[in-house]
Point group: C2
Chain length 219, copies 2
DNA sequence: ATAACCTAAATTGGATCCAATATTCAATAA
DNA sequence: TTATTGAATATTGGATCCAATTTAGGTTAT
């Protein structure tokens, strides 16, 4: 008799492990903008050689999360206010399309989960968790969509401004408004109103952009 | 006296050279979809070791141009009809925004150059050049825009379907229609009508998508 | 004291070597 | 004959070493 083929493997390559870890650290702001990424230091941290580290860094650069200069090394990429604005405009263009596509595909379970995430976000008292919970909610809504390239772009865009999103949430009203807007979007999804959900998503992103830019220009 | 700091360098790293060359070869269809990329073979071709080749391949994978499997290697990525359709939808969403942004920024020189490229495209009798000339025209129009992330996404999307675009051009009417539509877009730009230019750009892309998909479903 | 300069340390890019896994193909058993 | 096994080959992932370049620190001349 034949044995079932099972995917034991699952042992990711060293470069992927380093890539994921660095990516997470950059997105979550544990590595600050402009901070140099020393290959040797990172290699020691992960008990590997510099080869997989270099591969990870080159992939991160391809995603725009780090910038490298020959013989000078890589630093965590930052965004100018103009660039930040453009990323939010990009999100405001792409994410409504994702939602519009997702709404008719959402199952009862999807919606129940989204409602859960939405509630969890609004209920959380700990600012440290807001970024993750916000992401959770949006990704749950996006999940029903099958637009893989749109999703890829949206997630990459979100990654690049994740730090700003987190800052925006802790700004005056940021959290409260986001919570309100999330409920609005969720309700539109539950009612199967894709057009409204898309519009509210766009407003949500544009609103965040505006409050963020106002804050940046004040500083 | 101090010497002027001049950018003699310009000697790109080996991995970048390999990356650019492979990327070009894939986009232009010299490497066929599904064709495996052997690190050793490529390294020999470029007189380097496999290290820069691997870095190049990992960057190409990040761009979606190749797919790799652990210990099995990389192959040139292909697109299903659904994926092709989605990429065209993405282009139809993003590129009109680029044009809308670019139109008010176009100088006389930009427009003159665009008219030149447009004429060159329509006048070319050699199907082998159509892909490049088409790209030339569109990139000239895009050039006036300062939306760097939008441009990045549009160009990556175009790269991924460049082969299909070339196929579409040699299809019945493809070239003729593209030429006509290019003139329309150009005229709108010359008249400073950003809205019309954006709309025609969207139509141009959606039209290409439709004729391409019709052809795919027949085959 | 300050600026130019030169050497040493740090850092990156690449080459070569080794280990892990996959693939091929001949030998063998049913 | 055909399916299975297993060794040889091919191929990738990673470690270590070397070369090229940058950076830091100290020395000297003005």
């Amino acid at each position: 008799m034949k044995l079932k083929s099972m995917d034991i493997s699952a042992t990711a390559s060293a470069s992927s492990i380093v890539f994921d870890a660095l990516r997470k650290a950059i997105i979550e702001g544990q590595l600050e903008e402009g901070e140099p990424l020393r290959q040797d230091e990172i290699a020691r941290l992960f008990n590997t050689s510099r080869i997989p580290v270099r591969e990870a860094i080159s992939r991160l650069e391809e995603q725009g999360l780090v910038k490298t200069q020959r013989y000078k090394g890589a630093v965590v990429a930052g965004l100018s206010p103009q660039e930040t604005e453009e990323i939010f405009d990009l999100r405001a263009l792409v994410e409504p399309e994702i939602i519009r596509n997702a709404v008719p595909k959402m199952s009862k379970e999807d919606l129940a989960l989204a409602r859960e995430k939405c509630a969890a976000f609004s209920a959380s008292p700990d600012p440290m968790t807001w970024g993750d919970l916000n992401r959770d909610f949006h990704e749950t809504l996006h999940g029903a969509s099958d637009l893989k390239f749109f999703l890829e772009i949206a997630h990459n865009a979100i990654d690049r401004v994740e730090r700003q999103i987190r800052a925006q949430l802790v700004m005056s009203n940021g959290m409260e408004r986001a919570g309100r807007e999330h409920f609005g979007i969720l309700e539109a999804c539950e009612n199967g109103d894709a057009e409204l959900a898309a519009k509210l998503t766009r407003d949500h992103i544009q609103g965040a952009k505006k409050s963020l830019l106002a804050h940046l220009s004040v500083k």
